[in-house]
Amino acid sequence: MKTAVITFPASNCNRDAAMALEKVTGEKPLMVWHRESELPEGVQFVVLPGGFSYGDYLRCGAMASRSPIVKDLVEKANKGLAVAGFCNGFQVLTESGLLPGALMRNKGLKFVCRPEKLKITNSNSRFTSKYGTTTDVTFPVAHHDGNYFADDETLNKLEKQGQVIFRYADNPNGSARDIAGICNEAGNVFGMMPHPERAIDPLHGGTDGLNLFKSIIESI
């Protein structure tokens, strides 16, 4: 299956994402540079990687979300293309409007970098179906601006429609209602601050992230 990882200046998890995709699909993903204006034909799943795109200038993810490739990505995602954004990728997805809300400076003002316990709060999503009855997983987090914010109306709607996919067991950043990962209404766009792509090999210290990639790939 053809997959792609979009790379921005100062992306730094693009290779981790590529490793994860190759491990699950058996095929190297296409690495797409941010100045491209169109995704390659036939791509069925796109990852927006973590990092500090454009040096986090203006706001995290703000510049990347206005890049030519993301314009094309938004159009295709609105037509059903599967997309996941991790860490900075999640920030790009909220900035682009594909996911609701915004990621703000961590409540404690510190950069948090540690393994984080998460609860899967919707195991029926396209990104979590392979977890079965498992509800507790550990993914690494590494961010300064991961404090998820949305107004109460949006948060209520997310919860009611089952769009909250992951919550923090021990909220590291002040995120509203402990939200760690959400999907859009249609269920094809997903974003989270933790890094599942850094938990796919025993050498990473855990493999809890693998099923996330297996879930979405299998759903396509």
Binding site: L58, R66, E95, M104, R105, G174
Partner: protein, 80 residues
Amino acid sequence: MKAIIHIGLKPGVLDPQGRAISRSLNDLGFEEVTKARQGKVIELDLNGDDPAAAEARVTDMCEKLLANTVIESYKVEIED
């Protein structure tokens, strides 16, 4: 012309940096400070000589890039 844009977090949105600033000012003896909100100022040099048209254009810039209206509000000033 010049456009000066003030961008700040909307009321009700937690501003942890503002809170740290206000605490730090209190620690320095400025006990009268009860709250701080941190924002940013962006200055643009613009071609053209119609302030009303410029304000409309800059407002569009704020909506499209300069501010994230989910969490931020903005104020545009046009100077000659």
